[in-house]
Symmetry: C2
Subunit: 163 residues, 2 copies
């Protein structure tokens, strides 16, 4: 069981959007090229991020994406949910009603299956943690952890005025 690579792509790409001036944007092509990713697939991922209101798109020549809200209002969980969808990790499905765990027929019925409730609560712990980590937090973390020069070089790479 694994999150799809889409989550990884999204989080890594969003890092590069944090610093982009609000009037500019970064193209899928640049993001894909810089990290050696499939351009077409990455555009799918950004479609989801766009639909979730995390980024907004700019069409046409010199278009691309930018964050559609402040980095401190975008949590890791927002990103994961946008890419993976809202379905819980654990979901009772096939088990027949004759098992004695079921009071109301279906296992997925609310408050029916004790096992299901535990798994959902566990997942909620994970989500809570991810809700507490925002892109602005990540930005500060990177500031602390990475050499200054590296970050500047990357900013230049994605700067339109540079071309």
């Amino acid at each position: 069981m694994q999150y799809s690579v889409g989550v990884e792509y999204a989080l890594h790409c969003l890092v590069y959007l944090i610093d982009v001036p609000s009037k500019e944007s970064v193209g899928i092509k640049d993001l894909a090229e810089f990290q050696g990713l499939s351009e077409t697939f990455l555009s799918k991922v950004f479609g989801k991020l766009s639909k979730a209101g995390i980024v907004s798109s700019v069409s046409g020549v010199k278009g691309g994406y930018r964050l559609s809200k402040s980095p401190e209002d975008i949590s890791f969980w927002d990103v994961v949910e946008a890419v993976e969808g809202p379905k819980p990790i654990f979901q009772c499905k096939n088990i027949k009603d004759n098992g004695y765990l079921y009071r109301e027929g279906s296992c997925s019925a609310p408050s029916s299956c004790s096992i299901n409730l535990v798994m959902l609560a566990a997942e909620e712990k994970m989500r809570d943690y991810l809700r507490g980590k925002t892109l602005s937090w990540l930005n500060e973390e990177l500031e602390r952890v990475l050499p200054q020069k590296t970050r500047e070089d990357t900013r230049k790479y994605f700067s339109k005025s540079n071309i």
Copy 2:
């Protein structure tokens, strides 16, 4: 992204093993039949549980499975890990080294990728919760929640002496 149904099968089946007297065992056939599951597939799942030391098997006629330790020493996480394997939900894979998140080359190298660290920590929150819920807890919960008659009927169903 979802846990495999194997996890669901395992947890639901283990419930029926809690009450089994330590000299007896329950066969895959009964467990599968009772819940309408594929017998062959369920046997694969129990193979994993067995290898993880959660259940022990009894070969031969009237053989089957029983818990290999006390229900209070078997947590939900033990079961999930046994069935799903030890791999984390989120794992950095494909991203090239030229992204500026990497200090030591690979994203999966310890303490290298800040994003990876956050995801691993989040997952750990979920695991902690699941470690806190044991089969004996579940048993008490079911005692509280289910009609007494239902539980007794189920015990009878799996009792060898009954046949």
